[in-house]
């Protein structure tokens, strides 16, 4: 698809370092909205929103909005003296929760535009620190502990004859992360679902500001443990683009191999869990076995079951041991055979398909207008995958295929996972068989202060982003991390409407979003 860049972009853009083509524009208050509207009309998606307190530097607060276009990334930057800016929620509904989070962290408020209803409820702040304390402000003492003063969260209520509420969480029945779900139901039918997240907020953004650039990747990897490779790669990509380092070809291929292994591990786990949530425990047993096989090979090939510290600035920690390639190729064949077999069992199981099909439907038009990302978007007919649309090295050497389904239900999200598993195996083989020679890492000098760089990587869940601003003496001034769960969490609330309460675990699993990645 070729699209013309909006004119304002061409004339005023400043190149933005990163692993994807990027531009940065400094805009005033009016342009912040005006350009956002123009970007939306040219097919842009709002990827993330963040702010910064630069009063120590130039007496301004700043907000940044990162848009994903068919041409690459565009970041709009708006500086202000009073901490208030026009809300983007009318144009991009996904902005709403991000704006609430931005306020909780920085005290920079989104001003409601037109007839938009402002939502001023705390998102990350639940009462664990005072309303007047904004942790990301330069003068905030982030190490200070405050007493918890919890207050009830005002959920939107549904009224009518026979309507009642079911409150679930934050502690759930299984081994999963914490979050609260409030269902308004009639009988078993869900009329409305509202989620309250932020329970695992650990102050990652503030913590980044205490880190040297050379160790930020460790924190990035721990933003969401199941997406460790993607986040640490995004961090390293941002840092390398600022430090002028090029990751050596062999290391880049190994990073991609690790990223695909992360995708495989998560897809295998999800496929099993989805079978289990639909009453087919056989699926969980077999897929969890395959996942374990993969994790054990991971510890031989990459030095760990989960690759939290494999990607480092400049490259990767270590080369594959000599015997690893043969083991890996053998694993890929085993997985291919087993998953093909299990797929036909899933496809032919009437009871399973009955639970999967038409359940948790997310209409393609809704997915598009609400800005769905990653596998959720691809299961609702949106063919977007950064590995395909903006292949950064080494994805430019293989031609990845984008796996799309159109029905938007649980069945579609299952099929996308199956298709991506096979595609991932194909890519793994391609990377492994064509592994360039060369060093494992290149030196990364400290990047000069006050520069902004982006790292954007297509994780198994969808695009993750790291926006890194450097400080003096090789430290980080500000680092914003974005997980695609931000966009996809609100979509579950649409997908469950009209389904029954017992289908929620299945629908939730088919999205499999990160709580920790969202909460930060």
């Amino acid at each position: 698809m070729t699209m013309k860049l909006p004119e304002f972009l061409e004339s005023r853009r400043i190149p933005l370092p990163g692993n994807l083509p990027g531009s940065r524009l400094i805009v005033n208050r009016e342009q912040w909205l005006q350009y956002a509207a123009a970007l939306r009309d040219s097919g842009a998606q709002l990827l993330t929103l963040w702010g910064a307190d630069d009063r120590d530097r130039d007496a301004h607060f700043r907000v940044f909005a990162a848009y994903l276009l068919p041409q690459g990334m565009v970041v709009l930057e708006h500086a202000m003296t009073a901490p208030i800016y026009p809300s983007l929620a009318e144009l991009f509904p996904a902005a709403q929760r991000m704006q609430r989070a931005l306020y909780d962290l920085l005290g920079i408020a989104a001003e409601a535009v037109a007839d938009e209803e402002a939502d001023t409820r705390g998102w990350l702040r639940h009462g664990g620190w005072p309303q007047t304390f904004f942790p990301l402000r330069r003068d905030a003492d982030a190490n200070r502990q405050h007493p918890n003063i919890s207050a009830p969260y005002p959920f939107v209520t549904v009224e009518g004859s026979g309507v009642h509420e079911i409150a679930v969480g934050p502690v759930h029945a299984g081994t999963i992360e914490p979050g609260h779900f409030r269902f308004s139901v009639v009988g078993e039918k869900v009329l409305r679902l509202e989620a309250q997240l932020g329970y695992t907020h650990k102050g990652v953004a503030k913590l980044f500001e205490t880190q040297p650039q050379s160790s930020g990747h460790r924190l990035a990897a721990r933003l969401s443990g199941d997406t460790a490779v993607a986040f640490s790669w995004a961090y390293c990509a941002a840092l390398e683009s600022l430090a002028g380092t090029v990751c050596p070809a062999r290391a880049a291929s190994l990073r991609a191999l690790a990223l695909e292994h992360e995708r495989l591990a998560n897809h295998l786990g999800d496929l099993g869990a989805l079978g289990n949530d639909a009453g087919f425990a056989f699926g969980l047993t077999h897929f969890s076995r395959l996942k374990e096989d993969l994790l054990r090979i991971n510890s031989i090939a990459f030095g760990g079951r989960y690759l939290l510290d494999y990607v480092i600035p400049g490259g990767v920690v270590a080369d594959l041991p000599v015997h690893a390639p043969a083991l890996l190729l053998h694993l890929y064949s085993e997985l291919e055979t087993s998953v093909t077999n299990l797929r036909s069992i899933y496809d032919e199981h009437a009871g399973l398909q009955d639970r999967f099909r038409t359940t948790g439907r997310l209409e393609p038009s809704l997915a598009e207008s609400l800005g769905a990302l990653g596998i959720v978007a691809r299961a609702s007919g949106i063919a977007r995958d950064l590995r395909v649309d903006h292949p950064w090295p080494p994805y430019d050497r293989v031609v990845a295929k984008c796996m799309v389904q159109s029905s938007g239900d649980v069945a579609a999200r299952v099929q996308v996972r199956f298709d991506e598993t096979f595609e991932s195996l194909r890519l793994c083989r391609a990377f492994l068989q064509d592994l360039p020679a060369g060093p494992m890492h290149a030196p990364v000098p400290d990047a000069a202060p006050d520069q902004l760089g982006l790292g954007v990587i297509e994780s198994w869940r969808g695009p993750v982003l790291i926006a890194l601003e450097t400080g003096p003496d090789g430290f980080i001034r500000r680092c914003h991390a974005h997980d695609p769960s931000w966009q996809n969490w609100p979509l579950i609330e649409y997908a469950v409407i009209g389904d029954i309460v017992p289908d929620f675990p299945l629908i939730n699993k088919s999205f499999n979003l990160s709580y920790s990645g969202q909460d930060g």
Partner: protein, 176 residues
Amino acid sequence: MWNTLSRMWRTGLLTEPLPVLERALEASSPEFDSLQADLLAVLGRALCIRHVDAGSCNGCELEIQALHNPYYNLEGAGIQFVASPRHADLLLVTGPVSVNMEEALRRTYDAMPGPKLVIAVGDCGACGGIFGTSYASRGGVANILPVNITISGCPPTPTAILRGILQTVRPAVTEI
């Protein structure tokens, strides 16, 4: 159906002995066998665990979930994860305790019948890990609840978690 049954038959029993790969990989593999025997002897098939994520990055959750796969066969060792704290003997806590989860964690602990045990899983549960203490994090689980044992690792392997559970339960059982 034929396909399903045939796959079950062809896959066979995966639990014990541990796969060749694991033996080659982990020096502690004979230990794993005795660990399984110890677990059975001590627990007598009756340990109920309630897991709470108090702010983890979800890495530890992945390894706790892995305990359910056929290789580790957790239920075969007499350990069951339960959905309610009222049914639990042991609380398995992951993550640094986020300020936003502090109250829910305390309430879960209070809802458990005594005698009760607490295990803090992972480097974060042990001491706050990379997240430490801050405006948003209370640090290690011991800052909030009495902890019997901590299992370090980022994330700890399923075998390390099993070992930690045994270590916690053994003195407790002797005491009772």
